[in-house]
Symmetry: C2
Subunit: 623 residues, 2 copies
């Protein structure tokens, strides 16, 4: 009893401490209320499981145990951003990888097609790679494959058929790649059990906006390592198949050492709404609309798209599809029987087409993020060959606004308004539901898995720290059993427990930017971006021996409003001087160009106040 | 009775029609419920004022009337964007202007300091300008002055002292400008009445996040023209001075012909929350916090900043201020007595400083939008001289996230999380209230003003169309009395009524981009932006007469991952050929450069698939 009282007091102190963590969502408070036994035999500690008790009796304590060496669990990408998800589990000479996602470039990397983690650590150890396990078919989890898998010598891959097909569809621009990858794939489903090196691997079904999303269980002697994948719990999902809670609880009961749970929506209280609310609303809008319905949706929302096509057929609407990823994924989903429809229900909107009656038309398109070249965006600008918007058209945005896209989405809406289209989006309808669980989904997952150690993944640092805090306060985890990882800096699990890697143990993994299939050196990219805001000055010096015969310049947006600015004359003089002072037959043109550029930089700084801004300077000495 | 029944039936039809405008916020339904007389003498039409009746008996019908020529009401900026607000009212040889705002550049105009409307129409008629009337001191309403007012020959200006001082503070970088403008200003307040040319002008008090925000009434023989300015109704605002509803209703009763009402938050149902909820919350956080409080806020939130400083003094916290606009505006507000504090309460955070005890420290800073060079952003990166963030610091975001800034704000939050600062923002606290009314504020304003014609301003097209629809459905306006204007295309008001200008009557008013005080030609700007995503190729050809002696190139981010690409050789060859084929002593270098660039463009298109992307090509022929 004494010890129980003591731990009850400790519990109280912990709860008081928790009280200090204020300003969490309301939901965070509910878990601290407990029901005690009936009053006639009152014992406040009866049935009370403190976290000390809980972890002392944790399922992993019942495993055989023993020393089996270090297991390293290292995110190479996906923590520190939402995108480029890739995680490594390394145990001696066996390496498993989870996902090979891409990060799409933002404004800081214009022109870049995709960003993936540096995998040189894996390249050196490619003979150890026992397999790449895929959670689901979204691009942030599969579309880095075309950059990464060739570097790793085409390792074996394990994925659901849908995930595999979508992954392969992102590789079709690289000649021969699809043929090289296809035979490497093994089809998996939530019942699959794999033995890969010393590991045993299982999957479990979760809900997401794409069917066949799975979490991954990697069994080890220290307990299982679980990666939740992207998920929410949906009792009525688009594919009619709710996440298998019983299975997840079973995995938890068998002993989970480390759970990595996604954090995308950790700031949102409550449970994520069901996909069926959206489908009901979309059906209602389509029934009501007298004119054409134009629905813009992510190509990745395969589950919803499948149901929408069936719904449209039911309502007698022909479905016109446009947008690369949407066409590709719809074709794959149909081929794999994720939906059924008559051949003439589904058509591609390409070139000149003749639509049927407005009331019988549904147009599915990408472009809801205001992407400049997408079909909807072009139609809204009046630049689409066959899609001429008109009064009576209903435009449904069945997607969230991705942060950073607001301005271009706003431009799109203005252009739609100009055609007097009716706009329905999440402001005035339930036209979208996220695939990522809210706080209660996340807590439920971690509670079911009941891991000894918890490490949030899939989110910015502040999301993951918030997630960690949520698990500490609402699920009663001791802080030392929770870890906030960095890309390249993961966990080491062994017989003594689990810990964060030290900075020395980190794996180098920077972002690699790809453009037209090749990595772009970061300084080149920075130079390009700098030109956009600060302009560029090209200076050509012709010389004969040590004498400069002519200096000419060209400004690309440097002092664009003022081409006659006196500084240009000073630059010419200074460049000439710098050349003549530093000329030496032994000095290369490159060295001279560098010296001249430095001097010109000074002149600009002296003569114009540009507040931290200076143009990119390119000097070309020709002689 | 017959006619009343008829109009009742019409009313019914109108309401049925209104029923079709579905998917508006809940709030939109309330206004259609009416109380009829008591049942013992039941007459459903008793006391019922249909809109036909209402407008037939409208106060402007009681004005003397008569023909007084056309009055043109033209927004030169501010409709089509949120920013660069500027409206012209022209009646014969009398012109009044309302506001001279700036639009801050987005990602599509990197490096640009500010955007304002083209005012060439006004420059030609500057002798007619009777005055510039200012609503309030926010940059999107005043900070275009430094670009615009000198072009207009320094016209007379009318503003509250706070608005004037803030406007002048934005002009202090232009030598002599403050001195030139200062004597042109006349101090105004909500009691001021002005006669300017044929116009009489009055002001009325509204609430906003800055004190002394005013709406403007311009009296004409056809009724008043009212410009709401930015506003909300707040029963407990930061300056303790609620908007004067009685006054506004009085203006309405006297006869308003046209009301221009802002539309910023027209998509948000309900009433905007009061500023005092925020102030209460901020006080609570400051009381609770054991460590330093770092509060980031817009420099423009002068009302809230004033109260926060007094609150901090009350709680014994010294206030350190950093950020240009915040320092400027705080100094102005203190000088004009908008708040009072001891001299040593308020300090500037500049260079090396020694903070007092953490519990006694409040740091006010800008940077809540993640601006790269702002104090908070630098501190979060660990690059601030004196502000070293630490565990125990509470960082409050007392501002909304401006759409488009999410990614940089996210980076900021991640960096703050790295220092284990506690972050409180609108996700987990009432740390900000907007200054722009929600739907019910907007409807209340229009209802009080009771204008005959309604024209929404201050917002994107889709906002203003939504606002127009809201007024039609919820305030029972006939569509033909509502107008959605464009920049340059406003209204013509005369004895026959009011109508939208035809495209022929439009005033040319494009956006003018300023950098370092000078307008930037749009093609120069586009070129800069193009380089960022598509790269630049510099080609230098040396020639002796018709013979090319040497070709050299420099790539700035064009094929950055592949400097040895075979296309460069082909470019050299093609350029040399193009030169030699087209060389002619009569042809200028410029012409030749143009011909060569065209040819190089072709070669690039032939040899690499760049999907709509091509570099900027700069050819320099030197000989």
């Amino acid at each position: 009893m004494e010890s129980e009282n003591q731990s009850a007091r400790e519990q109280l102190r912990t709860e008081q401490k928790r009280g200090e963590r204020k300003r969490r969502s309301e939901s965070s408070k509910s878990s601290s209320k407990r029901h005690t036994g009936p009053s006639f035999k009152h014992d406040p500690n009866r049935g009370r499981i403190t976290h000390e008790k809980k972890f002392a009796a944790h399922p992993i304590k019942k495993l055989p145990g023993g020393k089996h060496g270090d297991i390293r669990i290292v995110p190479l990408g996906g923590v520190g951003e939402i995108g480029q998800n890739m995680t490594m589990v390394e145990w001696g000479s066996d390496i498993l990888l989870i996902d090979t996602g891409v990060l799409f470039a933002g404004d800081d990397a214009p022109g870049i097609d995709g960003i993936v983690p540096d995998v040189s650590y894996l390249v050196e150890r490619q003979k150890n790679i026992r397999g790449v396990l895929y959670t689901h078919g979204h691009y942030d989890h599969v579309a880095g494959a075309k950059y990464i898998l060739p570097q790793l010598g085409y390792p074996r891959c394990f994925a659901s058929p849908l995930t595999k097909e979508i992954l392969l569809s992102t590789c079709d621009e690289v000649p021969g790649l699809v043929d090289a990858l296809k035979p490497k794939f093994t089809d998996c489903n939530p019942m699959t059990k794999l033995t890969l090196g010393k590991f045993t691997v299982e999957f479990f079904h979760v809900n997401h906006t794409i069917p066949d999303a799975m979490g991954i269980v990697i069994h080890t002697p220290y307990g299982a390592i679980v990666y939740s994948g992207d998920f929410k719990f949906d009792y009525h999902p688009a594919d009619g198949n709710p996440a298998n809670m019983g299975r997840i609880a079973g995995i938890g009961a068998a002993g989970v050492a480390v759970a990595m749970v996604e954090s995308t929506n950790v700031l949102v209280p409550g449970f994520a709404p069901s996909e069926y609310k959206v489908l009901d609303e979309l059906r209602e809008i389509m029934e009501e609309a007298d004119g054409r319905v134009i629905l813009t949706i992510f190509g990745s929302s395969v589950g919803r798209v499948s149901r929408i096509i069936e719904m449209a057929e039911d309502l007698g609407r022909t479905v016109w599809v446009t947008g690369r990823s949407l066409i590709k994924n719809t074709q794959i989903a149909r081929r794999l029987n994720y939906f059924k429809c008559k051949d003439n229900t589904l058509r591609q909107l390409r070139g000149k087409v003749k639509f049927g009656p407005a009331k019988k038309t549904l147009i599915l398109c990408t472009g809801g993020q205001g992407e400049y070249y997408a079909a909807l965006t072009r139609a809204a600008r009046g630049e689409h060959n066959s899609l001429h918007l008109q009064k009576g058209d209903t435009v449904i945005f069945s997607a969230s606004e991705i942060p950073g896209n607001e301005n271009q989405i706003s431009t799109l809406k203005n252009n739609l308004a100009r055609h007097e289209c009716r706009i329905i989006n999440t402001n005035n309808g339930h036209t979208h539901a996220t695939g990522h669980g809210y706080q209660e989904d996340l807590k439920l997952m971690t509670n079911l898995l009941n891991p000894y150690y918890f490490a949030p993944v899939h989110g910015d640092l502040h999301h993951r720290m918030y997630h960690r805090d949520l698990v500490i306060s609402d699920l009663n985890y001791p802080e030392e059993q929770t870890f906030v990882m960095d890309n390249g800096r993961g966990l080491i699990l062994n017989h003594t427990g689990c810990r964060l890697m030290t900075p020395k143990e980190e794996i180098k993994t920077e972002r690699v930017h790809y453009e037209f299939g090749r990595p772009v050196p970061v300084p080149e990219l920075q130079k390009r971006v700098k030109v956009a805001s600060e302009g560029l000055l090209i200076l050509t010096l012709q010389h004969k021996g040590e004498k400069v015969s002519r200096v000419s310049h060209r400004s690309v947006g440097f002092l664009p409003g003022d081409p006659q600015h006196e500084v240009f004359k000073k630059i010419h003089e200074a460049a000439q001087q710098a050349f003549e002072r530093n000329y030496d037959t032994k000095r290369s043109h490159t060295t001279l160009e560098h010296i001249i550029a430095k001097r010109v930089e000074q002149v600009i700084a002296e003569h114009i106040d540009r507040r931290d801004k200076e143009p990119v300077i390119e000097v070309m000495v020709v002689g």
